[in-house]
Amino acid sequence: MLDDALLEIHELSVGFRRGWRAQPVRALDGVSMCIPRGKTVGLVGESGSGKTTLGRAILGIAPITSGSVTFQGESITHTSIRRRRQLAPYIQVVFQDSNGSLSPRLSVGASVAEPLRACKQLSPAKVRNEVDAVLERVGLPGSARRYPHEFSGGQRQRVAIARALVLRPRLVICDEVVSELDLSVRAQVLNLLADLQREYGLSYLFIAHNLSVVHYLSDWIVVIYRGRVMESGPATQIYNHPIHPYTRLLLSSEPAPLPVGDVRDNLRPVGRDAAKSTPRGGTDLGGSTTTVGGCPFATRCPVAIDICRSVRPNEAVTSDSRTVFCHLYNAVAPLIGSGDYAVNPG
């Protein structure tokens, strides 16, 4: 997938400084990934894993300490404000909080028109036409003169999508765009995103904490934990046959709404009562126990061994072209599918 890359991230680290002598807190630590043209890359992790920071680093609003971001062959790791403004039409963003991302003082049409006025020299009549057209495309025809508070959460999210799309970007960063929405509305927005991708050949970086949602929309999934990539690979492979213990923990935490047992590897004990009594992979104490050497997941990992706590795992590429960062990969891989490996042994 590397040859048709729209955006490439190489060994990216982001650090936030707290206090002026303290060591910067590493929000991202050597993350590499690539977003191909017209495809969706899903980024999954718990809160605090650095998902949002990665999106912000691409947009140039997070302090990058090392590594590079390349967009269409051009390095945008540290660009001038001027160049950023020139790039704005190509990279756009939709946020999680549709309420906060639209100015309550502007009509929806004015909000959507804003990037258009800023980046293109168009007559007011043309701007109005474009805005009406894009609002109609997201399913809100004739609503340009209304204000955000008159819309429901799902509709506001459509307006935010319209604003991102009005410049016909190449890449849209979707930061938890559906996590606040109801099931039925979530389905509407997901369908809309899929349709728009087909129509305009968009690429998405789809950030979410919910693997099943990410899986539905993505071609490729990257799982991160505490600022490091744990596992990345083709969406179906990751979803149906997760290798990394963290991916497996994430997947097994999403309760299935049906007595399906599981179509995926025996990830979840079949039957409701089994699920109830299963102990989980330890509690994340939330403290800043950033591991200096080892795997950041080692403290919660049910299968961790000594080396996990001291040595940072290397990248391992599997036969189905995914990347796993786990010392146990070699030990675990042969067991996949044989039924001997579960997230919670014993």
Binding site: Q92, S101, N191, P255, G286
Partner: protein, 641 residues
């Protein structure tokens, strides 16, 4: 629809705005038009007619030189109001612009502005102004501008802190990422909220400026003593106060009224900045009220042995006019001891309203208008607020969606828990401390000794939710109402909380009413569930039957739109449209307009909730028929049985 302009118009229509605003406007116009309005020249003396009270010839009397007070007031208002305008405009322009710019751009500009501001704030402004007047006598404008300038340092700080917040608002970030120029962002996004915040300060400052100008005129600096001025008139009146008590009233009274008017406008500006008037104008008492007729034991509905029973509960909220509009209608269900019951539905369907009604916590004038809520044999709908408070402390615990927000940030966890324990148990503080640790162990917190010393913001979301559950358990409740307890949490943490619920259920026989919109959560944790749509129960069934053979089209549609159940690449089945608001509810089936199976008959009459088997109820006239003709989509997804 309420646009920005409408909001201003709306504000102008309120008496708190138009009375002081109109008063100031009239005074300003009168002073501007003093040339036409005043009956005499302000300096025309009539020594035969001094210190007179009001008369037809001199409406406000005459002063110690026989000059007409009304004319002098009108002319004297000119320097006073001009001074106020000069000072206030400088104050507002400098304060707002420096505040917005330093807040938005930060960096060296911010540092310089803050440094200058600190420096200016240390200057005693009255002494600076008097010193300047000593150098440039009778230059009142300069004095007022200096006042404005010195005062603006304080405003800059206030505006800067608002700007720092606005700057991080997502819509400002979005505009920046949309390539909008910095100038435009400052003008369009940063300025309006800054002006709203500053308005309060500006009006208050105008009042201060008026007093300042009058004060200077009173002591006779800044302007020629021959020129009429309000302050000068007060000074004149003061010198003859022993002979003429009336003299002080016109000038002193006008200054007082003007200052008061500015203060009232500042008040109104503060109210406007804190949001449009909305729910607060509602009348009616919060809490649960029961229709008198229903309390009659003769028609009291039967009471089963269940722990919690809702019988035909209808909840209404007053609309803007004060009429009660039902938002939840005819909800009946039961929760047995140690049972976990799920409540499903989209937002706006009334799930949380039902939960709050059980707790007696309906806000904004919401009331249970009919039906009854029976808990542990007691009819809650007859309770007064006091009895309810006791019940909330002992019988029913409540867990909200926002765990961190539900814990008081001012206290450590230990103190919150001790308070909860001692609220219903008279025990020593040592014992309470011990009980607090027990509770934390009960919710599976591995190091309770550390957690009791933490504040809410030091806890992760999952940890905070465990603490919130511990607080709810402090009173040994029999029923826990959990309103979307894990929606804000990560999936892994959610799974842990759900495991905790199951443990509590088995160990303590705790019944749980679990409000959620997540099918997985409800399926994995509840024995039965209620599906709500537009304030009604549309289906009620054991969860296994509900997810494998949904009988109501809404249940089915809601289940199908779950991305977990769809083959990747195919469009997700959606329910077109949105939940209708209570004002749009019709007599017939409320789901009909979004339902793919709807017939004309669906909307003709009210659809009753029909019992189709021992423990299933459905509100659909076609449920039987649909079950037969429609191959079950959900069943087809199941792996070969």
């Amino acid at each position: 629809m309420i646009g920005a302009n409408d909001r201003w118009l709306h504000a102008l229509r309120r008496p708190r705005v138009y009375i002081p605003g109109g008063f100031i406007l009239v005074v300003v116009l009168a002073c501007v038009g003093a040339g036409w309005l005043s009956p005499f020249s302000p300096s025309r003396q009539d020594l035969t007619n001094i210190d007179q009270g009001p008369s037809w010839r001199h409406l406000l009397g005459t002063d110690s030189l026989g000059r007409d007070v009304l004319s002098r007031l009108l002319y004297g208002g000119r320097p006073a109001l001009l001074g106020v305008a000069e000072g206030t405009v400088v104050f507002a322009v400098v304060g707002i612009s420096l505040g917005v710019l330093s807040g938005y751009f930060g960096g060296w500009l911010d540092r310089v502005v803050s440094w200058l501001g600190d420096w200016v704030l240390t200057l005693p402004s009255i002494i600076v102004v008097l010193a300047m007047l000593a150098v440039f006598p009778s230059d009142m404008s300069m004095a007022m501008v200096t006042f404005g300038l010195l005062g603006s340092a304080g405003l800059t700080r206030v505006v800067r802190s608002t700007a720092l917040q606005t700057r991080e608002e997502l819509y400002v970030v979005a505009a920046r990422l949309g390539g909008v120029s910095r100038r435009r962002i400052v003008l369009r996004h940063m300025l309006p909220p800054a002006v709203a915040t500053a308005a309060v300060q500006v009006f208050l400052f105008a009042g201060v400026m008026l007093l300042m100008q009058s004060g200077l005129a009173f002591i006779g600096v800044g302007m020629s003593p021959l020129q009429p001025s309000w302050g000068g008139m007060v000074a004149d009146a003061a010198s003859v106060i022993a002979q003429d008590k009336w003299a002080l009233l016109p000038s002193g009274g006008l200054i007082a009224l003007m200052t008061l008017a500015f203060g009232l406008l500042a008040d109104a500006a503060r109210d406007m900045a804190s949001g449009p008037p909305s729910a607060r104008t509602w009348t009616g008492m919060p809490g649960v009220h029961h229709l008198p007729g229903r309390a009659d034991p003769a028609n009291a509905p039967r009471v089963s042995g269940a722990l919690l029973e809702l019988i035909g509960v209808t909840i209404a909220y007053p609309d803007r006019k004060g009429d009660l509009v039902p938002v939840v209608t005819d909800v009946s269900c039961e929760v047995d001891i140690g049972e976990v019951v799920g409540v499903l539905g989209e937002s706006g369907c009334g799930k949380s309203t039902v939960a709050l009604a059980i707790m007696g916590l309906l806000a904004g004038g919401g009331t249970v208008v009919s039906g009854s809520i029976v808990f542990d044999g007691q009819r809650l709908t007859e309770f007064d607020e006091k009895t309810y408070a006791r019940l909330r402390g002992t019988g029913i615990g409540f867990i909200s969606q926002d765990p961190i927000g539900s814990l008081d940030p001012n206290f450590r966890v230990g103190s919150l828990l001790r308070e909860a324990v001692r609220a219903h148990q008279r025990i020593s503080s040592v014992k309470a401390r011990q009980r607090a640790l027990e509770l934390l162990e009960m919710v599976r917190i591995s190091d309770p000794d550390r957690v009791v010393r933490c504040y809410a913001h030091e806890l992760s979301g999952g940890m905070a939710q465990r603490v919130a559950i511990a607080v709810a358990l402090a009173s040994d409740p029999k029923l826990l109402i959990a309103d979307e307890p894990t929606t804000a949490l990560d999936p892994t943490v959610q799974a842990e909380i759900m495991t905790l619920f199951q443990t509590l259920r088995t160990e303590k026989c705790l019944a749980i009413l679990l409000v959620s919109h997540d099918w997985g959560i409800v399926y994995q944790n509840c024995s039965k569930a209620i599906v709500m749509y537009a304030g009604q129960i549309v289906e009620q069934a054991p969860t296994v039957e509900l997810v494998t053979r949904p009988n109501h089209p809404y249940t089915k549609a809601l289940l199908e739109s779950n991305p977990q159940l769809v083959t990747k690449g195919r469009p997700l089945p959606v329910i077109a449209g949105t939940v209708p608001p209570p004002s749009a509810w019709t007599e017939g089936c409320r789901f009909a307009e979004r339902c793919q199976y709807a017939l004309p008959a669906c909307t003709a009459h009210a659809v009753p909730l029909v019992r189709i088997s021992d423990n299933r109820n459905v509100r659909c006239i076609r449920s039987v028929e649909l079950r037969e003709i429609e191959p079950d989509v959900i069943t087809s997804l199941l792996p070969g049985d």
